[in-house]
């Protein structure tokens, strides 16, 4: 079993227009998706990220960020256990983010 990082990007534009009722329905899908992963012992870690942050550049230049376009902003991450990248990709396909035109980047975490 190796660890894989899921980076969730985008979907914010669609979400912003949801009614409270639809937001709640969407939230429940995330909870049940992650709950299932957790039950199966596949979920190691994961948190959402605030949309505001800072970007630090050479010379101590600090700006508000991230400045990426909405669809590229990382909204959260998970660390999932899987046998290989193919399985990790398969697991990610049930992620509710696809309902809102978001993406999941799946990366294997290099073990030391």
């Amino acid at each position: 079993m190796n660890d894989f990082l899921y980076l969730f990007r985008g979907g914010a534009a669609v979400r912003a227009a949801l009614s409270p009722e639809l937001m709640q329905a969407h939230m429940l899908k995330w909870q049940s998706w992650m709950g299932k992963l957790s039950q199966e012992g596949k979920l190691k870690d994961g948190l959402p990220l605030q949309s505001e942050g800072k970007v630090v550049k050479k010379g101590g230049v600090v700006t508000d960020g991230p400045f990426a376009e909405g669809k590229e902003i990382v909204g959260g991450y998970l660390i999932v256990k899987a046998n290989n990248i193919a399985e990790a990709v398969e697991i990610s396909k049930a992620c509710p983010i696809f309902e809102h035109e978001g993406t999941v980047e799946v990366r294997e975490i290099a073990s030391m």
């Binding site: 949801l18 009614s19 409270p20 009722e21 939230m27 994961g46």
Partner: protein
């Protein structure tokens, strides 16, 4: 989810919707009704934060307090960004801080007060009934424009217009968030109750269409009516009568619909499926609706419902009492619609010919139910040919698939 028990508990399932409404009412107090648009943006933003964070874990034990602190920060950010006059900002800061520092109990009562004030603002007599309902659903109940449009089977543009008219009225007349007192209260409370009654009816009469939203309209009307009756029920008994009426109807929600979604008429309903908890709460409210106070149509309509609930079966219903109640209702509100509904009890007490005589010539030629009831009574009078014509006409006037299915079944009986 259509099998869900319709009850007050079910309301708790709409956390996002109701928290939206609570936040909007409470923030509107700090910002003022003229800036309702700003408030709604902040609240929508806050709900998005909740969506993101709660998706990854559970909903916090106290979602209200959690949302509160997020919304407060968003509100302050907004004010800073807008660079509004420092003095004004200070007022808002103080208010927001005071709100955050409230103990849990007083936060609750603060929210209750704000919601009550918002109910009075939305149901302002200067605003048309349809705009009252739209703005209440938007701000107090957290419905989106699309959801309101879908519930009322109209366009989003139409709902937008209704909302704009309400907001414009707030701005131009500097409507304040406050619950009126004294003589003003007397005048205003009847508008509030009438608006909630209409909202409930809108949901009730559409509750056999396909969406679940229609039942939600009823439950939202009930929730708001409960807030009003909690505050004023002791001095304005008609608020309790209205709640009783709504609870009686809510108790029959599930029994009105078959497993296949078909309409089940009162005469066919399985009375064991009438919700006993809602029924008993309805009787409690009815008992507190003050027999000595002046009688409103809510009192009479609730009493009619109560009579049905007291009957072990349709056949054993005390139809004479129901007929007497309809006569009182007609004295209060002499409308053909009342006569239409009265005809059912006339039919049970005196027979179909008397009922048909009552229906004859009512100016309801365009209403499917008029012809449907007429068809029913003609059938009972064994005038099958005429019954067939009436039921066919009813079917062509109905805009609802479920109604047409029911009429088709009755048409079979005409052969």
């Amino acid at each position: 989810m259509p099998e869900n028990r319709a009850g007050v508990d079910e309301l708790l399932e709409h956390v996002f919707r109701h928290e939206y409404g609570k936040l909007t009412s409470t923030l509107a107090r700090a910002f003022g009704l003229d800036r309702l648009g700003v408030v709604e943006d902040i609240v929508q933003d806050t709900m998005l934060v909740a969506l993101r964070q709660w998706s990854f874990r559970e909903v916090p034990k106290d979602p209200t307090a959690w949302l509160y602190s997020v919304a407060r920060n968003r509100a302050l950010d907004h004010l800073r960004r807008e660079k509004v006059a420092a003095a004004f900002a200070q007022v808002v800061v103080d208010e927001s801080e005071a709100i955050t520092e409230l103990s849990h109990e007083s936060l609750d009562s603060e929210i209750q007060d704000s919601q009550l004030q918002m109910i009075f603002a939305c149901c302002h007599p200067g605003i048309s009934a349809e705009s009252q309902i739209a703005i209440a659903l938007k701000t107090l109940c957290g419905f989106s424009v699309a959801e309101i449009a879908s519930a009322f089977i109209t366009s989003e543009a139409t709902i937008e217009k209704r909302l704009q008219r309400a907001r414009k009225y707030f701005r131009e007349n500097r409507v304040k968030l406050e619950a009126p007192t004294g003589v003003a209260l007397q005048a205003r409370i009847s508008t509030v109750l009438e608006c909630l009654y209409l909202l409930f009816n809108e949901g009730y009469k559409r509750s056999h269409s396909d969406g679940l939203l229609e039942r939600d309209l009823c439950l939202e009307a009930l929730r708001l009516a409960l807030i009003v009756s909690d505050h004023f029920g002791d001095s304005y008994h008609e608020a309790n009568a209205l709640v009783a009426l709504m609870l009686f109807h809510a108790a029959r929600f599930d029994a009105r619909t078959g497993a296949d979604g078909a309409i089940i008429l009162l005469s066919e309903q399985d009375r064991d499926r009438w919700d006993p908890e809602l029924r008993s709460r309805a009787f409690d409210y009815l008992a507190r609706s003050g027999a000595d106070s002046f009688e409103t149509h809510y009192h009479i309509e609730a009493a009619i419902q109560a009579t049905h609930f007291l009957a072990p079966s349709f056949a054993m219903t005390d139809w004479s009492s129901i007929l007497a109640l309809y006569k009182r209702l007609y004295a209060l509100n002499p409308s053909p619609i009342v006569l239409l509904h009265m005809s059912v009890s006339v039919c049970e007490v005196f027979g179909p010919e008397e009922a048909l005589a009552l229906l004859e010539g009512l100016p309801l030629e365009d209403y499917y139910l008029y012809h449907a009831l007429k068809g029913d009574m003609l059938l009972r009078a064994n005038r099958k040919k005429e019954a067939f014509d009436s039921l066919t006409l009813a079917s062509s006037l109905s805009k609802n698939e479920k109604e047409r299915m029911l009429l088709a079944k009755k048409l079979e009986g005409c052969n």
